[in-house]
């Protein structure tokens, strides 16, 4: 019987495999950041261990870094200590670090692909759940906890249970690809399969609707695989993948021969078997807006806030969850999504802070002004994205419209640096999680695409962006 792409990558990385035992899997690339690594390095020191393959390990600082002014000292002492700790750990253990002043600094899942560190067919881990992003390149990439970070640092391997392959077909073509984006596709998928629909699986996204996407859009899709509960998400590499990685800083010297190998080997066999299947038809999907407190609580922009009764079909927890979500979000059933007024806009995060995201958002903003009661931030995913955007004049488009143009980092995605919502503030956010308090205690998050976030910033409320001229 044939194999899926995931199974081929898995099999190629087995160090030890025995029945009824965990498999020991080799890790090709280990990405490290300041928040989930300090205890792992402490563990190495305590046990007198070194880093097995510092040459396969890359570090940057993204979660804690302030995004306003990099020339000033970091005011938050605990953040400063965490950042200094990573500097010291990388120095002590011989790991390449893109520090806060490096032109290559940025969100770890933005810089990996940009630098050519992310490669098809490889295994990639990081102490961060959104490591699934790298699956866009046909890599098996997943988030791990700090104990596992230490294990990879020490051994370049991990003991793993083998997940099951899950096929998601994205069928058809979007009518308005500027208004209905990769973010709307993945939010639609999560809305339909649920936040635990992918538990225990590695998703392979396939079909015309995936092939049509650019590499940056594919990263948005794979990024949110974890929000569907999947271990990882991946997409078979094609010419777009190979072209994207050609000539980048760390692209291997023998790249073209690797491409030939990848073309022959990195695809799911026609007779391979998936444990689970789901198909999304995208011909008529609408822009999506989340209304609740998990990414599955999402609806079309043309719909209204659902009633908890809509979820009462035999599952009390779903109904209760909807009630609790509406209470936290201060929303009433029946309110049209387009009537929801917002206070803040965040365009950023490992989901949507790449150059294309900023270009698409800038088309909405160009020549217009921010709604007077809204505060909006644009936070490029990396210093390189920031520089490229500035070369295109995007910074001017945003600042002329009264948006803030900031330095790269995770920023307002997760409430652990100075960029946070105040209690009760409502935000249109291009990030990946709308959990309670995620963007700051009491903050209310609506997950949307960069185009929707930009339009909401201008209008002060959500709009059907399909009605805008975005070409």
């Amino acid at each position: 019987m044939g194999k899926t792409l995931f199974e081929k990558i898995w099999d190629a990385h087995i160090v030890v495999e025995k029945e009824n035992s965990p498999s020991l899997i080799y890790i090709d690339r280990h990405l490290v950041h300041e928040v989930t690594s300090p205890q792992a390095f402490d563990g190495l020191r305590m046990n007198n261990r070194s880093v097995r393959r510092p040459d396969l390990t890359i570090a940057t600082m993204d979660h804690n870094v302030p995004t306003n002014n990099r020339t000033l000292p970091i005011l938050d002492q605990t953040s400063a200590v965490q950042i200094q700790t990573l500097e010291k750990n990388c120095k002590d253990f011989g790991i390449q670090l893109f520090d806060i002043n490096s032109p290559n600094q940025g969100i770890v899942h933005v810089i990996g692909p940009q630098l050519g560190i992310t490669l098809p067919g490889s295994t990639i881990v990081c102490g961060d759940s959104h490591t699934s992003t790298h699956g866009a390149f046909g890599a098996l990439a997943f988030g791990i906890g700090t104990s596992e970070v230490e294990h990879v640092l020490a051994s370049q391997t991990l003991w793993l249970e083998k997940p099951k392959p899950f096929e998601i077909i994205v069928a058809g073509k979007r009518k308005n690809p500027h208004a209905v984006t990769a973010k709307d596709i993945i939010l639609s998928i999560i809305k339909n399969i649920g936040t635990s629909g992918g538990n225990g699986t590695v998703i392979e996204y396939r079909g015309e609707g995936i092939c049509d996407l650019s590499m940056e859009q594919r990263m948005t899709i794979c990024n949110m695989s974890i929000e569907a509960g999947a271990r990882a998400g991946l997409i078979a590499p094609d010419e777009k993948t190979f072209e994207y990685l050609r000539g980048r800083k760390y692209t291997p010297k023998n790249y073209e021969s690797l491409v030939e190998y990848w073309k022959d080997n990195l695809k799911t066999d026609s007779d391979a078997k998936f444990e689970k299947k789901y198909t999304l038809h995208i011909d008529n999907i609408a822009p999506q807006v989340s209304w609740g407190t998990n990414p599955g609580m999402t609806c079309d922009v043309t719909e209204s806030i659902p009633s908890p009764e809509d979820f009462s079909n035999g599952d009390q927890n779903q109904k209760k969850g909807a009630e609790q979500a509406l209470e936290y979000m201060a929303l009433k059933p029946g309110t049209p999504i387009i009537e929801i007024k917002i206070d803040r806009v965040f365009i950023g995060s490992c989901t949507n802070a790449r150059l294309e995201d900023l270009i698409e958002a800038s088309k909405v903003v160009k020549g217009r002004k921010l709604s007077p009661h809204v505060r909006a931030m644009v936070v490029p995913g990396s210093q390189m994205v920031k520089k490229q955007a500035e070369e295109l004049g995007l910074d001017k488009i945003f600042t002329n419209a009264n948006f803030e143009w900031r330095e790269s980092g995770c920023s307002m995605c997760l409430g652990m640096n100075p960029d946070i919502l105040s209690p009760g503030e409502r935000c249109a956010s291009t990030s990946n999680r709308n959990f309670e308090g995620r963007q700051g205690t009491g903050g209310r998050t609506h997950l949307v695409s960069p185009v929707m976030a930009a339009a909401a910033a201008i209008e002060g409320h959500f709009v059907d962006v399909r009605e805008m001229d975005l070409n």
């Binding site: 030890v16 025995k18 009824n20 035992s21 965990p22 020991l24 928040v35 989930t36 300090p38 205890q39 563990g43 979660h63 804690n64 938050d76 605990t78 953040s79 200590v81 965490q82 102490g127 961060d128 759940s129 988030g143 791990i144 906890g145 700090t146 104990s147 596992e148 230490e150 294990h151 003991w159 249970e161 936040t195 635990s196 538990n199 225990g200 974890i226 509960g229 271990r231 998990n294 927890n317 779903q318 209760k320 969850g321 609790q324 997760l414 409430g415 652990m416 999680r433 959990f435 309670e436 308090g437 995620r438 205690t441």
Partner: protein
Amino acid sequence: MKGNVIKYERDNIDTDVIIPGQYLKVHDYAELALHAMEGLDPDFHSKVKEGDFILSGRNFGCGSSREHAPIALSHSGIKAVLALSFARIFYRNAVDGAFLLPIEIEEDAYSDISEGDEIDINIHTNEIKNITKNKIYKMKPFSEIIGKIIEAGGLFKYKPD
């Protein structure tokens, strides 16, 4: 393993409510414990006792890979989380660091066990005894792999056969 139950009747308890992002800079586990479940239940710290269990619905621990989540619960005194299902990273983190036991239960245990009930968990017979209500429920057994890591006392103590 005996203890009393703190029950959260909801699905999708995520790692951001188990330990909010602003505390991921905290390295002192006792201090982390002060903020466990703060995003959902600000009274958690005052009511939790050493040896207690959490009981919850589906997809417990979804979200971030932060090991701070099982650490904060463990250092609050929580010895096990009983849930209808778990998100995988939380599940592995709980086991890898031997912080607490993630125990998958069935609907009967979920609906029957109440806040404050005293229960006795036996991972060898895969049974949960409700001492307060004098009832017994089945728990889902650990997979071979997870069972071996738990038995060893965590990822770093695990040695293959």
